[in-house]
């Protein structure tokens, strides 16, 4: 799994590529915690490069979302497709967290 970060106004865009599974999920939560520690508590996660996600990935997202919310910030998602979009839907995460088709739409609401 790889991360690319870009500041967009008050928000940070975190682009994630690769796989978010049992073995890599701790890296995602650690990356979000590092962003929060650096003062970036409004995060837009771009998942257009994510190939695969499992429940361990969802749990790491839930952990990051709760932490950012407790700090007065928030997390949103964009660019979901294929299995990633399907897993977000089946698990109810599309109702739980803000999900947008594009990065621009996510940033407009971040």
């Amino acid at each position: 799994m790889e991360f690319q970060k870009a500041k967009e106004g008050a928000a940070l865009v975190l682009a994630v590529t690769g796989r978010l599974d049992t073995l890599t999920a701790p890296q995602f939560e650690a990356e979000c915690a590092a962003c929060a520690d650096a003062g970036d508590t409004r995060i837009v996660v771009d998942l257009s490069g994510l190939e695969y996600i499992s429940s361990a990935g969802l749990r790491s997202i839930l952990g990051a979302a709760k932490k950012l919310k407790s700090l007065g910030g928030g997390i949103s998602f964009c660019g979901l497709s294929g299995i990633v979009a399907e897993v977000f839907t089946v698990s109810g995460f599309v109702k739980l967290l803000p999900v947008f088709p594009t990065r621009q739409e996510a940033l407009a609401k971040a």
Partner: protein, 143 residues
Amino acid sequence: MSAPLRLPAREESLPELQRLAVEAAEQAGLNEATRQHVELVLEETLVNIIRHAYPADATDRPVELACHTSPGELTLVVADHGRPFDPMSEDADTIDLAANLDADLDSRAPGGLGLILIRGMSRASYERRDDANVLTLRFPAGD
């Protein structure tokens, strides 16, 4: 059918077991979406076994995967020798999964997601056979 792959029920065994299943899914001619279901359902099944089937300090903790292919269909059989656990039974649910699906961020429990994915993306059946948990996961091409 190939011989079952038997490995320790540990996280480091996940890539090899998932690779075997994905190769079998390709041989069966399943499309990409169904191949991803195979990979995901297997990961969720194995993680349950890794975390819960054996005592944490058990050194003998095998998990076995057998892949059966026929044109347009893949069947995975996952077996372990740990404590009885039927992931298809509602007794397996320690929380109300349906209510949790609608919960908001503050009340959403982290557990139960794997079971939702297993049940939603495969045709699964469970059997306790002698001292083994045997979970049969079917993936027809059309699913």
